[in-house]
Amino acid sequence: MTDPTPPNPDPTPEPLQLDANTRARLERHLDAVEDVLRRYAQHRATRSAILDELENQILDKLTQQAADNTPPTATLDELHAVLAEMDPPEAYARNSIDLPAPSPFGFPDAPPPKLNRATLLGLLWIAWFALAAMALIFLYTTVAQPAIYPPEVGLRYGPRPDPITPTIYAYQTWWGSLLIVLLCFPGLLAPIATTGLGWIGLKQIQASNGREHGQALAKASAWFFPIAVGNLILLAILSAPIMVLGVLGSQVTATRHEITLLGVAFVLAVLALYAAYRINQRVITRLCNA
């Protein structure tokens, strides 16, 4: 909640000057605090509010110390001295903001946060999906009972006759059907289930007041299948020129042209993979920082 009222007319002292090393050390401290806050599923706006306060406090303290310098400057040693007086980043875990409001009687230390169950289920469903896919391949390629052919009919002099009993694949057996219904069908629902459970997990973690953790895993669960599908589409689009080259390659006769086309296709394939990698990297980084 932010009021749009005009800023406080504080006297504005000269800004503090920090050299690159000191600024980098300060940033590292703030990053370490942010990591702890992120681990405790703090929303980005909350993290930002806490980090702004912390940075202002550190800079205020350094400014007070550097009051005699013109312009005020602070060294790395002075920053270390200020940080030594302050709470270490781990302290933000103990005082997680989303802990329930304290009672006037005081409260015991909060129990350690538990891994969110929806998130866990979503991730297990991915494993189930893999298992279901493997089971389907097995069921559709495994012969449970080979075909039985009539005896004494020569294969040598004519076409093979119709079998007395046809080949029975594993998926056609009663146990194959049972596996399909109990294992494969629910497993193949993973793209919907895992994505949904990931989002539910994220909401539950944010609403859990720090009692549940696993935000990164929940994000992984929520985005695993959308990213996988996105990658398939991306690779299909990026590999289209390579397929065109393949068609062209099948029509040329000169070896020299074939080699040229092969080289171009290889370069395109490398570029396509690099582009997919960079797009994934950007998408995943943005999701992690959200």
């Binding site: 909640m1 932010t2 009021d3 009222t5 800023p7 406080n8 504080d10 504005t12 002292p13 000269e14 800004p15 503090l16 703090q42 909350t46 509010a49 806490i50 980090l51 702004d52 306060e53 912390l54 940075e55 202002n56 406090q57 550190i58 800079l59 205020d60 400014t63 302050m86 709470d87 302290a91 933000y92 103990r94 005082n95 997680s96 903001i97 989303d98 409001a101 304290p102 009672s103 006037p104 009687f105 005081g106 409260f107 015991p108």
Partner: protein, 113 residues
Amino acid sequence: MKSWSAQLRKGLVELAVLAALRDQEAYGYQLLQTLNQLPAFQLTESTVYPLLARLTKDRLVSVRVGPSPHGPPRRYYRLTPAGQQHLHDMKSHWQQLTQSLNQLLDSHPDPAP
């Protein structure tokens, strides 16, 4: 005794922060300094800033963003009407509690150590 005292203090931080913001707005570090002037409260930033963020989220305090001389914008906190009401309720509860406790403590004089 030390643990009990620390937990009691921890439990009263919210009341102290709301009380410190009752009459005036303050930014985080300013509020921390105000609270640390009280001998019984030795609070640190890892307690107060997350609490301010939670109070903001609960709409008990509002935030006005103003310029800072050297860092990110300063956030000035002020009690909202809901915060005033919450403070009033907490204060009443606290006063009842201390009154009852004092009554109990006064009726039983300290045993000799």
